[in-house]
Symmetry: C2
Subunit: 410 residues, 2 copies
């Protein structure tokens, strides 16, 4: 059951997410958007103003009575780092405390240099590039998204199948890179948080973010709350079996959907369609996926057949999500989706129709997240911001009144 | 986002579920079990006492100070009907307003007499058997669980694949059978509600009830809240594809897990293992499943092989649930589980281990619901009780104070 503190925390997040999306808003508007009472919103805003994270920017003249204060997130309060550590690159973004992008650095990760020490060195390199500025705003927090299964509380990468990492103390190894608290989670959770911050209206809906990259998984939000499961590993859709006894998966199992719609799975299908295809760029997943995208747009038969086969499995997999979770919105995200998502979604639709029940399928809308932004980095920065708010509220806890109690747990 | 009214409703349900499970309890104990403040519990109890659904049964002598009032659900307040309409039978239970079983009636449903008119006549027959008593307590509500997809608000059976029903106005056709409001939902939702009422401690956990009957599906509870999805069709796990291009399913798709682990799927496997098996009882699913159970216990090779093959697909399917939802508890329920659940679960474990990720698999515990009770009927009676509470609170709504606001929506 949710405790009163959980509810207060969730309410505070709803308020600041709405404020972030609106840019500038008054307390009444925030109450309207969040469905909370004006009194609750006023209490939360009072606490946020005290922290300095929110500031009063102007007073709007009301039709009658005194002018009402307009609030906004205060970008001068500090900075946040959002780190998207993926199998093939590390992307680091610096954002203000209002989550506005200041700068970013992206470094490729060599497929053959994936020891924990090598990867951490690469991440530190990207962090240094971002922190070597004369910006004086303090860092409030650093959010890190790492692939695979992570232990949030311990800051440990429990299992990263692509690198064969097990129980690597990632945050411990990054300590000192920035003088700020570090928060770890995985890209599925980051993508959901990015959507909730960018589109707070999704908070009233059940939605699913499908991460199509080297790894495959889903992030699930139910009524604006991130589904974590009992050990924070909910969303491992990539290892759902769609072909019993099918392709060997790096997780040890067979026939997982990741082996058909993940980047490596798509490359394997391409090799099956045409073993000597000129679209193949050796080990370089990203270059091959881009080549497929361009060839498909040009009507290349091999590329189209590869996408048709991939879309068949994607359609079956998405139908399973629709049947099981009955979401209102499904968003294809991450780098494979950015390159191939539109091609795949269009071809997956008939297979979805053949494999999903009518009622939930008609209720769901599908889209590809084509924003040039790295949504995972944005979500990681949001981890850091929510973690910062949580630490503030823990420092001054009053339990019996509805004071600001924030946290990373939703 | 959840509104304040939703939260008050959920709090009230938590209190009465705890009271139901405890039998007798004081306000402080209820506060402790639910995690709510004593003040909130006192307010909720005050409203429940006023309705007559809860009564004060005694005063326990406290170590110091005045004796504290002990509360209980009041079985004299009225009666409830819980109806489990399944593909092969209809089971109707009469329960007190404290959800104690008074009596039950079960009638078989002929596989070949499944027109809406024929089925409704059978349900009315069972209801008449239950209502022809000289018990004077009024009926507070009737909960109906019907297979397949239902439209709760409209009281319509949207799609019942086994009978090929589409958009049948079931509650309209049952009107007048009892002088009480009727509430419709499906067995997946009923099973989750039955667990939440029987084991309110599950309310702090993420759990999944797997319905193994003629149809197959899951009911999902996240932190004590029933997952409905945006059109109340979440949990259609039975139509998750485990063998792309596999067995033809009655839903129109191919390779759905229901075609391997549902009653008809198990019969098909048995026919594949031994086309002339003496275990086959013609069209009678229930009799064949019972024959398989007994033969398996006796070590019969055909039965064991049939269960081994079924367990392979069940293991793959359960692994998918564990990966995606990361639940703490998984409960196999319904009539096929009652007969074959233990045999299947034991044999499914190695296949689960081969197809699930380690962390969520180790976090999950599995059990078979072997209670002789019909859990679906119990859940249906709970629909009726929650619907009754909801109607009471709607009659006297005060929005700005934390008064009792109950409802069937969790």
């Amino acid at each position: 059951m949710r405790t009163a503190a959980d509810i207060r925390r969730a309410n505070a997040f709803d308020v600041i997410r709405s404020l972030h999306a609106a840019g500038v808003a008054g307390r009444r508007q925030l109450a309207e958007w969040t469905g909370l009472s004006v009194q609750t919103v006023a209490t939360i805003c009072g606490e946020l103003l005290e922290t300095g994270l929110v500031s009063e920017v102007s007073r709007a003249k009301a039709a009658t009575g005194r002018p009402t204060a307009q609030l906004a997130l205060n970008p001068e309060h500090g900075r946040l780092l959002g780190i998207d550590l993926a199998e093939t690159y590390v992307h680091v973004e610096t954002r203000t405390s209002a989550l506005e992008l200041i700068s970013s650095t992206e470094l490729e990760i060599d497929l053959h240099r994936h020891s924990p020490r090598q990867i951490v060195a690469r991440v530190r390199e990207a962090i240094e590039a971002e922190t070597a500025t004369d910006d004086l705003r303090p860092f409030l927090g650093v959010g890190v998204s790492a692939p695979g299964q992570v232990d949030r509380a311990g800051g440990v990468s429990v299992f990263a199948p692509n690198w064969n990492w097990r129980n690597i103390p990632l945050l411990e190894m990054l300590r000192g890179a920035v003088n700020a608290p570090l928060y770890l989670d995985n890209p599925l959770k980051a993508l959901v948080l990015a959507e909730l911050w960018a589109h707070p209206e999704l908070g009233s809906q059940d939605f699913v973010v499908v991460n199509l990259g080297t790894g495959v998984g889903i992030g699930v939000a139910l009524e604006g709350r991130l589904l974590r499961g009992c050990t924070n590993s909910a969303g491992e859709w990539g290892h759902t079996v769609v072909v019993a006894g099918g392709r060997q998966c790096r997780c040890g199992s067979r026939g997982c959907i990741e082996t058909y719609v993940g980047a490596q799975g798509i490359l394997q299908t391409l090799r099956e369609v045409s073993p000597e295809s000129t679209l193949l760029r050796g080990d370089d997943q990203a270059a091959t996926i881009r080549a497929l995208r361009d060839a498909c747009a040009a009507g290349d038969e091999v590329a189209v057949e590869t996408l048709e086969r991939t879309a068949y499995y994607l359609g079956i997999g998405l139908a399973g999500i629709v049947n099981m979770l009955n979401p209102e919105v499904v968003i294809l995200s991450s780098w494979v989706a950015r390159d191939l998502g539109e091609h795949l979604l269009e071809r997956a639709l008939p297979h979805m129709a053949a494999h999903a029940l009518t009622t939930p399928l008609l209720a769901a809308s599908f889209r590809v997240d084509t924003s040039a932004d790295d949504s995972v980095s944005m979500g990681a920065a949001a981890f850091a911001l929510e973690g910062y708010l949580h630490s503030l509220s823990n420092a001054t806890t009053v339990d019996s009144v509805p004071t600001l109690r924030t946290g990373t747990s939703l």
